[in-house]
């Protein structure tokens, strides 16, 4: 079978409806008689709830109900299950669907107002009088473990949720023998995901109370179904969860939120269809955020600038709760040692509770954090030893001869972490070649003219294709068209297109002949979710396996129908043909046969249906890698940073659709640039968020973003049948580190040292003046 679509830049099957306004996002779904919900949220970062007086709100015209935790019963008061259990956490805290007794961050859901319109619900929400007793708020990560520090929750003795430790090798020995040891204090600040579609939940209970249909703007409809079936004590078959068109996810939409529980609970309670659509103001305080970490690190290097060892400690702010357990610090930990062949590593991460919005993965999860600190250390070594930043990396990287390379770290299941394939040095060289050689000359010339340009570099390795599995069913219909059903819903990645590309080649049809249905739990039995750059590997492999099986079955049956050797049969244009003859049978005819007719047995040894279902179980992780280079100019009078060029060389294994991979990379890089230069979620000392609109919280705009030049390497992974690796986060992971590296280089005449992001022009001016 020659690959005609796999690997080609196929235009997306998703687009025709989306470019003509016929997409159907959660708030677009027609739902006769639906009532609208506004959520009453805590204005306090930490407080006790004495009483809730909803009498005025209940009396407001158009209000159907005001519901508190007490109205919705025990399930509304019970803490929600942690999505990734964390046994190491002494006091595991998760939010309950509606707060009762106390609140622990500004924005925590306290009550639901149900009304005939959202506007009326908002009118009444302002009339719900909640009597709070404010408690001291913990918003100071650096001092969260100090004696006498305010505790973020009265259930806690200390703000320490737990400590992760990881590493390998003779750390003391390596640091003792090292020619050089350098110390850095580094930090990253939190931002949001800001999918352009906010979250939303709609629930329609069956009058009998035995069924409920739920629509959620989620990355994980199957997680929502699992959670709600358990919560409502219903069969999973009776809880149908649909992720409609979803307007971006970027991580936080993988969480099952308070509203995902509270809205269905309220819908059942009232016996009415309810809809809650998060508005942008709510998104700033009720959707999970990420990146606050404070690091103290040391790097050991030999006399040639080869990095030998890293050791350090991190304070990780996880906000008020652990909805996703400790997956973030675990991801930060497991992202060591990155592309570097270290002899020794010792890292400890203290996971801290604070009274801010809970943290869960935002594009890259803990990886951009670890990439940032490792790349800062690599740049430091280069600076101190007076060698190029490229050389430090060339000398310190895992070399191509070392693959598969066991880093010394342990995976979540305790097995050794082993990088599958790649050529990290070669990937760096491609970026350097693309970037051009005469940068130094241009930099000197620019400085002579009083202009300050700088080159940045950052490299990364990303674990992709995370366990446990995804699955797919392929079924040829009597009309010859193919149904492809899977649990791996998309939020813009283009799954329908790439899955159809994978299947089309096997079945000898075009992607347009395939209808892909994803994200409706009633159409496919099981799924995990579109997170952690995992779907191309897990979903893609399962589609491939199901397609191969379907193809084999078609050939087997066709060989009987056509009385030909299986070896002589080819699939082409929707037919199984005897090569070199005009004898053929269409896939539709075969499907009709295998659908069966009354009284007629199917051919011997053939199961019903020209179809197959396959699950791909990811038992070994695949590792993507890349090196980014960029050029910036800093206006030293204003501190303005302009990104002049951005080059990405990256390797995510075999490419299914290079156009879509480029799209993932570009979007990811720009998200990282936002983290480096623009996006800062500010809280005041009482835990009041200060940046709660798009005038105060700055997202990257077209006018500030560079073109992003991409060079692909393809080192197929031997760990899945299609050789692919994930690409969803590889753009974001190194981008902030790369931009910061470039700014530091541009400002080197001022001896400016950069140790955190985001950095504002005002910050840079201050550093220039101090320099």
């Amino acid at each position: 079978m020659g690959a005609r679509y796999f690997g080609a830049a196929v235009k997306r099957l998703e687009d025709p409806k989306l470019i003509t306004g016929r997409g159907q996002y959660l708030d677009d779904i027609p739902m006769p008689g639906v009532l609208h919900v506004a959520v009453v949220r805590s204005p306090h970062a930490h407080a006790l709830i004495n009483a809730i007086d909803a009498s005025m709100a209940r009396g407001h015209a158009g209000v159907v109900a005001v519901l508190t935790a007490d109205d919705l019963g025990e399930m509304a008061r019970k803490p929600m299950p942690m999505m990734a259990p964390a046994p190491m956490v002494k006091t595991p805290l998760t939010q309950s669907p509606l707060a009762h007794g106390s609140v622990h961050y500004v924005g925590e859901a306290v009550a639901l107002v149900v009304a005939e319109s959202r506007a009326v619900a908002e009118d009444a929400a302002a009339m719900v009088m909640v009597d709070y007793d404010p408690l001291p708020a913990m918003v100071d990560l650096a001092h969260a473990l100090n004696e006498g520090a305010a505790v973020a929750n009265q259930a806690l003795q200390s703000n320490l949720a737990g400590t992760l430790k990881g590493g390998f090798g003779d750390v003391a020995g390596v640091f003792a023998k090292a020619a050089h040891v350098f110390k850095e204090s580094l930090s990253l600040h939190r931002g949001g995901c800001h999918a352009m579609e906010c979250r939303g939940v709609m629930a329609r209970p069956d009058p009998s109370g035995n069924r409920i249909d739920i629509w959620s703007s989620t990355q994980s409809p199957y997680m929502v179904r699992r959670a709600l079936a358990l919560c409502l004590g219903m069969d999973e078959a009776s809880v149908r969860v649909t992720a409609p068109d979803v307007g971006g996810g970027f991580g936080p939409k993988a969480v099952v939120y308070a509203e995902d529980y509270a809205i269905p609970l309220a819908a059942r309670h009232l016996g009415r269809a309810l809809k809650w659509v998060e508005d942008r103001g709510e998104h700033f305080v009720a959707t999970t955020q990420q990146r606050d970490q404070l690091w103290e690190l040391e790097v050991a290097a030999d006399a040639q600038g080869r990095m030998l060892g890293v050791r350090g400690h991190c304070l990780h702010d996880n906000g008020a709760y652990l909805p996703y357990g400790v997956v973030l610090p675990v991801t930060s930990m497991s992202s060591f040692p990155g592309p570097y062949a270290l002899e020794a590593l010792e890292i400890s991460i203290d996971v801290i509770y604070t009274n801010m919005v809970p943290n869960t993965p935002v594009r890259g999860a803990g990886r951009p954090n670890t990439c940032f600190v490792l790349e800062r250390l690599a740049d430091r070594v280069a600076r101190e030893l007076g060698i190029s930043r490229e050389d430090v990396r060339r000398r310190s990287f895992v070399q191509v001869s070392q693959f598969p390379y066991e880093t010394g770290m342990k995976a979540r299941d305790g097995s050794p972490v082993s990088y599958d394939t790649g050529d990290y040095v070669q990937c760096l060289e491609r970026a350097v070649d693309k970037f051009e050689s005469d940068f130094k000359a241009r930099q000197d010339k620019a400085r002579a003219e009083g202009r300050y340009i700088g080159m940045g570099i950052a490299s990364y390795v990303e674990d992709t294709g995370l366990a446990p599995y995804e699955g797919a069913t392929i079924r040829v219909q009597p009309n010859g068209k193919v149904l492809l059903l899977t649990g791996a819903a998309a939020q813009g990645q283009g799954h329908k297109t790439v899955f159809a590309q994978i299947a089309a080649d096997q079945l000898g049809i075009t992607p347009q002949d395939i209808t892909v249905e994803a994200g409706d739990t009633s159409l496919f039995p099981l799924g995990i979710g579109t997170i952690a750059s995992r779907v191309a590997v897990t979903g893609g492999s399962s589609v491939h396996m199901a397609a191969v099986e379907t193809r084999a079955k078609a050939i087997k049956v066709a060989s009987q129908v056509l009385e030909a050797q299986e070896a002589d049969l080819v699939l082409e244009g929707g037919f199984v043909k005897v090569s070199g003859t005009d004898r053929q049978v269409s896939l539709g005819q075969l499907a009709l046969m295998l659908h069966g007719n009354f009284g007629q047995p199917l051919p011997a040894g053939i199961a019903p249906g020209l179809s197959a279902t396959a699950f791909y179980e990811a038992r070994q992780t695949t590792f993507a890698n890349g090196t980014n280079l960029c050029e910036v100019e800093v206006d030293i009078e204003t501190g303005a940073v302009k990104i002049l060029r951005y080059v990405v060389a990256h390797d995510c294994g075999t490419l299914i659709n290079p156009m879509l991979v480029d799209g993932q990379i570009r979007g990811g890089v720009v998200h990282g640039i936002g983290n480096a230069l623009f996006e800062r979620m500010i809280y005041d000392e009482n835990g009041q968020p200060q940046t709660t609109n798009y005038g105060e919280y700055l997202l990257p705009l077209a006018t500030e973003m560079p073109r992003i030049e991409i060079v692909h390497m393809e080192s197929p992974s031997p760990r899945n049948p299609i050789g692919v690796k994930g690409a969803g986060e590889g753009g974001t992971i190194p981008a902030a580190a790369c931009v910061i590296s470039a700014i530091e280089d541009a400002l080197s005449p001022f001896h400016v040292r950069l140790s955190s992001h985001p950095l504002s022009p005002q910050d840079l001016v201050k550093l220039i003046d101090q320099g």
Binding site: P43, H44, V106, A125, A126, M127, M129, P134, I682, D684, N686, Q688, P689, Q690, T691, T692, N693, G695, E696
Partner: protein, 209 residues
Amino acid sequence: MKIDVSFSVPVPPQQAWPLLLDVPRIVPCLPGASLTADLGDNRYKGQATVKVGPVQLTFAGEAQITDIDDAAHTARVIAKGADAKGRGSASATADFALVAEGEGTLITVVTDLQLVGAVAQYGRAQGLIKEIASQIVEQFAANLRSDILARSQEGVSASSAATDRPTGDADVASMAPTAPVAPIRELSAFALLWGVIKSLFSRKNQSGQ
């Protein structure tokens, strides 16, 4: 948010003290504030209106005078109120202390103001909130002084005026100050922010006169 102010009144502490505790009388001196009910044992209901640029906020709530030390001339006022439109709430603890200062009295007020909800999240306007709060207290001081002066000109001693402190659920109407006080409705953005700008321009004398 800590706001410290101090101001002088032209009467000695033993006269200023009861005057300061005469809530129905001093409330009208507080810009934008009005008393709606006396709940007894030093608890009062009232409301205060403040303008931040185009945004007008009206906080309705309760205040209580506690820790009254007639010997040391110190007292604490604990107040909390919520915006009528649900845009958040404010709570403040203000510690008053009087000390003799020549013929008059130096009154220091150490206030800890906490804003929550939308009012605390205006971002760009946040820098002005502290200035605005300081201005409110400073204008309060100015009004109080002019009130005292007005009375002393009438020959009415501040202390005697202060003796009939209403208790119980008194009729609010009867609580209007007996002497003419500069009429203040909601603290006008003009008066308020002119002060803000003044203090922005001369940060030295933050603590009023």
